[in-house]
Every structure is written in C-alpha cells, then in structure tokens.
Point group: C2
Chain length 401, copies 2
C-alpha cells in the first residue's frame, strides 16, 4: 500500500508526542495549565453570539466562493482604522488563516518550489508546506538579538530559481517580535528585485503592547502587487473555533488564481460567516480591553520567568507567545517530565518544545514556546509549577547535586 | 511573475463562462430557473436551526482536529440504519465532502499520480485533482447504456504504476445511476488485485427512487481496508452552506494519514458541527418526505423532457440530477442563447453544459446536466422555457426552416 510523500513528509511534532501524557495526567485529576497552545480564555464579543442565535435562514444554502458579500463589504471599514485602503474585491474569505496560507502557497508555488521563512516560525506552516509540497527554507532569527529580522543578505542568499515567496508572521508567533517598517521595507525591496512575493500573516495585528503601533504590509502601496496579507477573526475576536479568515491581495491575477482554489471547495461555511460579520461591529473598547489584558498577562509571565534561576526570555512586543530558554538539556524531555513525572499540589504545566518551530535541525533544543492566554491567577500557578518542576527536573533527571 | 501550474491547470468551466450572462438576465428582471446547480429549496430540519439558535458557548474555541467528539460518536447510529458497522474512530469530520475528497487524494497520491474515474463525473473533482496535482484518467460510461459501470476491463486497462485510486460517486452526480452490489464488488476485486484504493462519494445516499435500495461501499467488510467513503450532511439535510462532511475509513493507516492533513487546518468550524450534530436527530419521516418530493420532481422533469421533440434522457434512479441530450449543435452555445437571447414571458432557464463533466475532450457536446431541486411549479415553468427555447434556438441559430 502506498501512502503519499506528502504524508510521510509530516513529522510527528513534540506537541503531538506530548499530548497523550497530558491526557493521562488530566485523567488522574491533575490540573494541567496549557501554556502550549494559543487558545485564549477571553470571551467572544456578545454580538457575535447574538448573531448566531438570530441566524435567520430556513435553508442553509451554498454561498459565494469568495465569501459572504456583506462580510467582504464590511471588512474595508475595519482596515480603514489602520489607514489601509482595502476594497471588497481584494478580499477572499477563507476557513481560517490556515486556508489563506494554503491558498497563497498553492497559487504561487509548484511542487518542490521554495518558501523562505525566518525561524523560529509558526509550526503549522510546515504542514501547509507539506500539503502544497513546498520546501521551507529557513533564515534563523536569534533570541540574543530579540528575534529581529535577520540581515537581508541572509534572505537574499537563500533565493533560488525555485523561490516563490518569503513568508513572515507579524506580530510573530512564536517570538512576539513586531516587524518594523524598516524591516518590512527591506523585504519588500528584496521580493520586488527578485520578482517573488511577500506573504505576511497578520492575525495578531491587534496585539501590540507598550503603545507600539502596528505596521501592516498593506500600507506599502507601492509594493501592493507582490504582497499577500493573511488575516483571521480567530484571535482578534477570540473566536478561533469559527475558523473565519481572509486572504487580502491587491494583485488581481493572484486573487483570481486563489479564487479558483476557493471555488473548488464551493463556499465558506455560512453561519460562521454571519458570526464574523457581527464581529465587525465590535467596539474598539473590546479590543483595547483584551490588549490590556494580554499585556498584563505578558508582564506576569515575563517577570515570573525572569525570577526563575537560569530561565532566559525577551519581553515580546506583540502576539501572545514568547520563546524562553530553560536551564535544561532537552526541552522535550523536560516537557515530558512535567506531564508524566511531576505535579505540585495536583497541578502541572504543559509547554511547547521549540524544536518544531525551527526548520534547521538542532537549534532551539533548550527553548520552549509559552502562550500567555490563560488568566493571571492560572498563569501564576503555572509559573509556580514551572519553577518547582525545573528544580525537580535538574535534580532528578540531570542529576545535579 | 510566476503562477503555479496548479492554477494554470484549472480550466474555465462552461458554468463560470455562463454565470455572467445569468447575472445580466437577472439584472434585467428576467427570472432564471437554475437547473444548473444542486442547491435544493428544501428546508433544513428545524432542530438544526434550533441548535444554532441555542449555541451555548461564551468563547468559540478550537475543537478537535478529528471533529466534534459527540458528532463522531453520533454518526455510527446513523450508519446502523444502513446496516453498517462504523466506529467513531473510523470517522474524520471534514469541511464538506469536498475536503474529504481532497484528503483522500492527498493521502493516497503523490503529484502526477493518477485517479481513475467513470465519466461523466462531478466536475469539481477536476479542481480537487488540480489542487492535489493528481491526473484524472477517465473511463467513459454511456447514456445509451443508462450510464452503468463500464466494463471492468476498461478500468483494468487504465491501471498503471501511477494509479492511486478509483473514484466513484453513487448515487451518481451527474447521471443519477445507483451502482449495484455487483458493480461495486467488481471494482473492489479490481482495487484489491492491484493494491490500490476505491474512494466512493455517497453524499446522495438517501436519494434512491422507485423503492431501490442503496448499497454502501462500507457494507463490503472484507474489503474495508482499501475503501474510503466520502459523506456529507449537505444534501441529506439540505444544509449545503454548513459545509459539514466526513471521511469514513476502516484502514487505520489511511485515517491517521488523513488526520495529519486535518491537524494542519486545526479543526472544523464549531457552530456548523453543532448544527450537524442536531441533524443526526432528524426523524426518518423528514428524509422520506424529501425523497418523495425529489422523486416527484424527477418524474415531472423526465416526463416533461420526453415530451420535447428531440430530447433524450434516462430516468435516473438516484441523486437529483440527470443528463439529457438536446437536439442542438453545441450545448454551451444553446445555454448561452437561453440566458442572453431568449426569454418567455420574462423567464428563462440556466442549464449546465456537460463538456465539463467529461475528462475526454469532445464527448457530451450535446448533453446538459439538469438538477431537479426546484419546486414542481418552478420545474414546469422551466420545462416550458426549455421547449420554447429549443425551438427558437433551432430556428434562429441552427437556421432550420
């Protein structure tokens, strides 16, 4: 029996290897604080739920492949808040940012083409690359530099005849780095010079901290023809499960091509689009509160981590993740220990080893990604577990005296 | 600028070429009866809409990649009605039958591998094949034979080292043929002999007429390891826009592989899954009524068509489409004429030229696919337009005296 190479290309990620241990711990009544996943506990805006309750069709019928027209017409108002000129015709509604990235890859790349990506990167991109049969080519960003954009020369060195695009995530998952206008401009000049594309995943756009303003790739209007912006309602309105996203692109040829992929799957699910449409009416105060909440959680996590001997981390400026270096030999071994062999007053922590967030083998072995999406009280408990767990691990596993 | 070969592989279908004409006609106030698309006017069961109105989460959160557990646990009860032993672990909830077919292709086939398919076939499969970069290899079924399964030798001749699977749709879109146990068994023996897979799209399972019983591919338990069944809630419960489907497979390796594709897109949309779960509680009387309604519509369409001089069609035994041969030189030219140059008392008809439903070029040029999903009154009007339109076309365009 033959399984496709796409499938054999999927690596079993540390998170998937760890999940059974988490389930066992939970089945034994241990409370596991999930710092490993970006599932916020923030409430979805009430008018989104109201719109679902008021869903008024008698037949749930096929909609347009491009997405609900009202939603495409409503989104430009939202982008205006960021000073961006987006038209309904520039927008394709997708099933999550996930589908938008897949559409971008499949539109721009043939099998075995390449996409350059700064690492560490959002690990699911490896799966999208497998599905499109695209090879990811990494450029390493470093913790000691605050995970800023590596030198543009490093990117240029990696461009070959097979390069279809560079993919960026800003604010970044997992590093929290918010790319500066200067960094973005450098990349835009590079992609223009080499006649390739820049795909920017901006799903964490709202979550920039310390008063830092966000610069969207769509604001560089001179380069609009070679930019694809990936967007999503998931994080912005805490409605990850609705899987509403968008692909935004001012290049009509690219959008028409992506539309062919969209037409194949007929249309995005209807009810969730009504929910997303209602989300557009969300008051700015909701976003402001959520941003303040995340900033507070970030502060708790960063200051807590810095108090733990041997732990290093930057203070992220955006999104709701950070990469921390732990005083351990192997982050996956430590993560397994925390789930399988450790608990403190019936509690423990699940962390995401960073190995998966790098294309390059052997980097980031001591690093973990931590999401600060759980409430402050839970975060403090998680930090307490982490500190005690690290001490226990170093003593029991690393055999320190 | 480079667009991928996937995209250039998409052909502009007659339906897409015709749609602008339909929009123009509609904008001029002409009522267009859409026999070209399988969008039923049947109401979704009320408890589905009730479940949406009662959606009770405060945060629309990520769910399991496999799909909502209750839904996977509820579906086996439904399959039991068909005498099928399906377990929750055999099921992956997908975004439409569309995603299930894509998962099947991507799991079983590498780029440039082949899938054998009887033609005429559901035209969107060509798009799924493009996305997976799989080549469709046709075996032609014929109207004069009632579109039954072509000789198994014809299939065997097409099997090469690159063949990953045979894809069947039963009851068939567009022909309405319901494959017999004997036909299915022949195919199963063939795929077993060649160590390939049989994928069967059974989304029209409920719609078999004249008391004909349906045989699911899942009932052949001896061959379960090489079968993928594609299912959907769309047609069964008239909820196409919810895009809920399923991939059912008893081969754990295949299911684990498809799950990797599912994990990439995180989870199916949540609210629509709750809707699907409620759909499982649909009383059999709903399905019986809908089936009777479609059978009545079929009878109206078939007897109406047979009264039109020169029109040929079979009486389909299942699904809600039929393929008709029209007394015209070119079905697409005729379809365009109907939308652009014809109306009868302010009404006209949109039909789907069959060219798209064949891989082989030049077959089916006089054929159209007609969906009988609109109500009897509308169907009768559509038939009236079709008869008058055919006469006008033959006179004005084909220059008959």
């Amino acid at each position: 029996m033959h399984m496709s190479h796409r499938i054999s290309g999927f690596q079993c990620s540390p998170i998937r290897r760890l999940s059974p241990f988490a389930r066992v711990a939970e089945s034994k009544g241990i409370r596991v604080y999930h710092l490993n996943i970006g599932q916020p506990d923030i409430k979805t805006p009430p008018q989104v739920l109201d719109a679902i309750h008021a869903y008024n069709e008698q037949t749930i019928a096929y909609g347009a492949s491009e997405g609900l027209q009202e939603l495409r017409e409503g989104l430009p108002e939202y982008y205006k808040k960021y000073g961006l000129d987006v038209q309904p015709d520039d927008i394709l509604i997708t099933t999550g940012g996930s589908e938008a990235i897949q559409f971008a890859f499949m539109t721009l790349c043939d099998p075995y083409d390449e996409v350059i990506i700064p690492e560490p990167y959002y690990t699911n991109v490896a799966s999208f690359a497998n599905i499109a049969m695209v090879n990811l080519v990494p450029v390493t960003s470093k913790m000691e530099d605050g995970f800023v954009l590596p030198s543009i020369d490093e990117f240029e060195k990696k461009i070959t005849r097979k390069t279809g695009a560079i993919l960026l995530c800003s604010p970044n998952n997992p590093t929290g780095h918010v790319y500066t206008p200067r960094e973005l401009k450098q990349l835009l000049e590079l992609v223009k010079r080499h006649d390739i594309f820049l795909i920017v995943d901006e799903v964490y756009r709202e979550f920039c901290y310390d008063g830092k303003t966000f610069t969207s790739i769509l604001s560089f209007t001179d380069y609009a023809d070679r930019v694809i912006c990936v967007d999503s309602f998931s994080k912005r309105y805490s409605m990850c499960g609705s899987r509403r996203g968008a692909l935004v692109c001012k290049n009509p040829e690219v959008l028409a091509s992506a539309l062919k992929l969209a037409q194949a799957r007929l249309c995005p699910p209807d009810i969730e689009q009504e929910a997303a449409f209602a989300a557009l009416r969300t008051d700015d105060s909701y976003i402001d509160q959520v941003r303040a909440e995340y900033q507070n959680r970030r502060d708790i996590l960063v200051s807590g981590l810095r108090k733990i001997p041997g732990v290093k981390c930057n203070c992220p400026k955006g999104a709701f993740y950070l990469v921390a270096e732990l005083p351990v030999d192997d982050a996956e071994k430590f993560a397994t220990f925390m789930l399988r062999d450790f608990s403190l007053d019936g509690e423990t922590v699940m962390v995401a080893p960073c190995e998966d967030f790098y294309v390059t083998k052997g980097i980031g072995r001591k690093q973990v990604r931590l999401a600060y999406v759980i409430n402050p009280e839970a975060l403090r408990h998680a930090l307490r577990c982490l500190e005690a767990g690290l001490a226990a691990y170093r003593k029991q596993v690393m055999m320190e005296c």
